[in-house]
Amino acid sequence: MNIEYYNDRYQSNIYKGLEHCFLSSRVVEKIRHSKILLIGVGGVGSEVLKNLVFSGFVNIHLVDLDTISVSNLNRQFLFRSEDVGKYKAVVAKDRITKLCSWSHITASVENIRSRKFPLEFFKQFAAVICALDNHKARLYVNEVCAFAQVPLFETGSTGYQGQVIPILAGTTECYNCEPKPPQTEHIPVCTIRHRPETVEHCVVWATYLFEVLFGNLEDSNPLSDEKEYKVSRLSREWEPNDAGSESVTEKDWEDMTCERIMNKFFIEDLQFIESLKEDTVSSPSRMKVPSQEQLRRHLWNVEEKHSVEDLKLEEQNPHQLVWTSDKAYEVFIFCLKQLLRRWKESKGALIFDKDDTISLAFVTAASTLRAIAFDISAKNSFDVRGIAGRIIPALSTTNAVIGGIVVFQLLRFLSGTHIKDLYNARLSQVPRSRPRHSDEVIITPEVIRPPTAECVICHELLLVTCDTRKVTVRQFVEEGLKEQTKVEPFSVATDEGYIIYESEPDDEVSIESRNTDMSTFAQLQVEEQPISILDESGVHYRAWIRHQCDIPLLIERISSFMDDGCDCL
């Protein structure tokens, strides 16, 4: 059959179908001409994209930063094994265009937080569908959509569960309204350092150890005071010897470094923790601290009997036995040496990658040794990869359900249903009973609630339009905030944590940074991104700075929009 003929007939079929369903050719035209922004072309994203084009949407903009990996192939049907390593947005665009020649798709390989997407960019869309997997980027999208006053359809899926939330900030509850469960970083430092209780604490400790030794040490790392054990420092210690007497061979250096690191983290630290425990009588359980001799024996005994291939096979087997302490020592030393060599070659910081066999085996071995010392049952490398890499299980079927619901809701929205009359949908694994009904449900509609009273994003947004090359931060505060909106801010800060204005500057701060408020927005590079305006009690307003040459300084307050529903049609 002639493909073009088929495509034409096919496309008209879709529109005829739509017209049938929504009983209005106006709605069909609207769907055909609406531009949709799809952020994230992963599991849910590819389903959404397919549903969009085969529901009649033509103009779709894809944004995704990520590349395709093997573990995506069990659900992301637009990708194949030969695509591994390529950009998701690009491949998705090509595949969909082949399936559906009349679609007009734009792909951006870019972080959605990039300055390349100003507020005007978001405003061109009839709706934004967010199919991202991380909290931070979702909060950002949620906020931008509130500033741009664009309806957002927020999706999420994990394992057997998923959800779809239509959001119109100011009118409905937004992604920021409900506090989210605490992040991993919130495990108390002392739990990680001194009192691990679960194997997760041990794994987290092991990834921190990796970072201490090889990575860019960040202050948020609870082991950050162990800077002296950074490999970059340890390597310096041996260098003077090179010039002097018998030069230290590569192998000697590796052995010595290994011994120092192991001594420190598997003997001295544990002994220290044990001494702490003796003070508090309440903990009778003995720790298993290895002796110096044991360590030595392992250090000198290691023939290279492990191969990367073996470790790779092991990490893919969920039924693999948990390593014994002997094996964990062997693997630890083997991997440590491999990583030392890698570090020497690159001379740059190494970053933990859950898909790198050596890094994973290092973390597994370290967590196993730590778990054994604290009498916690350890995990094999398959499970450690899940914990350390924060792997979220994902199914094609769950994504299909979520992708279907969100596009149907979008169709309803564009056909004139007010966003308040849509539903938050939740897919659950186990049927739940419905109040006031006798049946059980696995897809549950929830009535969309109004915004919570505390939510800054739903209530306190300021849109600042000015010539950012001329307006300084001080002018913005004095002539803008104080005069136009009657706000007296305590300070103004960017999301990266820089304070660009303070009403009562700290005397200890250097002159340079004290004068940041004399700089223009353009100099500080804070245009087209949200900033916080704080008062004594915390963030009071969020503001978005837009550049426009002909406007000196204009501050608009974004209030609940589309309340009358007239813009929905």
Binding site: C21, N51, F77, C100, P181, H319, L411, I443
Partner: protein, 377 residues
Amino acid sequence: MTSAIYDRQIRLWGLQTQSKISQSRIFLYGYHCGLLEELAKDLVLTGVGTLVIGEYSEVTETLGRQPMFVTYLGHDLEQLVEALSVLNPHAQIYTVNTFLKQHFSQLVEEQNELQRVSKLIETKTFAICCLVCERLGSPIALALDRVCRDNNTFFMYAEIAGALGFLILDLGCHYTYRQLKKISERASKTKIRSFKNDEVIDLDVNDSEEAKDDHSYSIPLEDEHTLDYPTLEQVFSCKCGLLQSSSKASLVFLAFVRKWKEEYSVTSQQDCLEERQRKFEMFLQRQKIGLRKCEMQSLYKFCSFIDVELISASSCLAGILGREIVKLISRNEKPIFNIFIFDAFSCLGSIVDIPSTLRVDRKRSRDDEVESPIYDI
């Protein structure tokens, strides 16, 4: 390589279930529509070993008008099979014809469609037979269900009418499954899951407690359960009076859709929304079914969708169906018992229990039956 592909689901259901999936053989039969494609796609991605797809070829000749289906993977079955094989090169995917040719060299040619399909099921090659969007009314569905029952094959019936989707399961009168219970690890499991998922969505506690991963080492406590499924015929002949009110309207509408497809769509030349609504009212009168006004209102809305497929609704129903198929393969979770109704308008997916004959009989003695079955042929 393969375990790397399935890593994200092995973490959920374990290696054992994954290997069962890779050995499973599933038969999909019905109309080549979006629902069939979506389901096939989900199954192939999940790693199903063998998939045979059949199409009721007489459909196009008998139906007066072409229903508006959305198919995108292939214009015909051969293309669909080809496209699916690209998605997963390890899966064995056949059309009924190629499969029959490979397995029965001396097939009698003049057999009709149903006989051929029955023959296929009688080989007991397939654990699961799934009838998708059957367009010709109940005789085929009922006959296929009977054949499946006789051959211990699980039967699933899926139908989508625009924004309203149905699944009816018949897994025989003695379906057993083992629910894994983990006592010792439960507390820590909940922690892990919320720890892992912190960035995605907030889990509700019930779900995370029930979620299992059977690849860890603690010996799970197994609870064996048995379910007695009614046959498709029993479901269709269930009396309206016995239905729970919340699902009654949808099921009555399903009956109407089936009737409409059988008769009205072939004969009637005039077709518009008002006409369909009028026919629906006539149908209710003839069947002596009373519905509340609000129920009628919501059903009128569905009338415009009867012969249109919306890919988003189909995709959603296919997802649920695929999930059930994995449950049937792994046998360690309770499948839907026995009807699932999906209403895309209100984002509602509910499970309805249609009582099987025994219980119907018991009730019958009490009730004075005046209402006719929701479906009579």
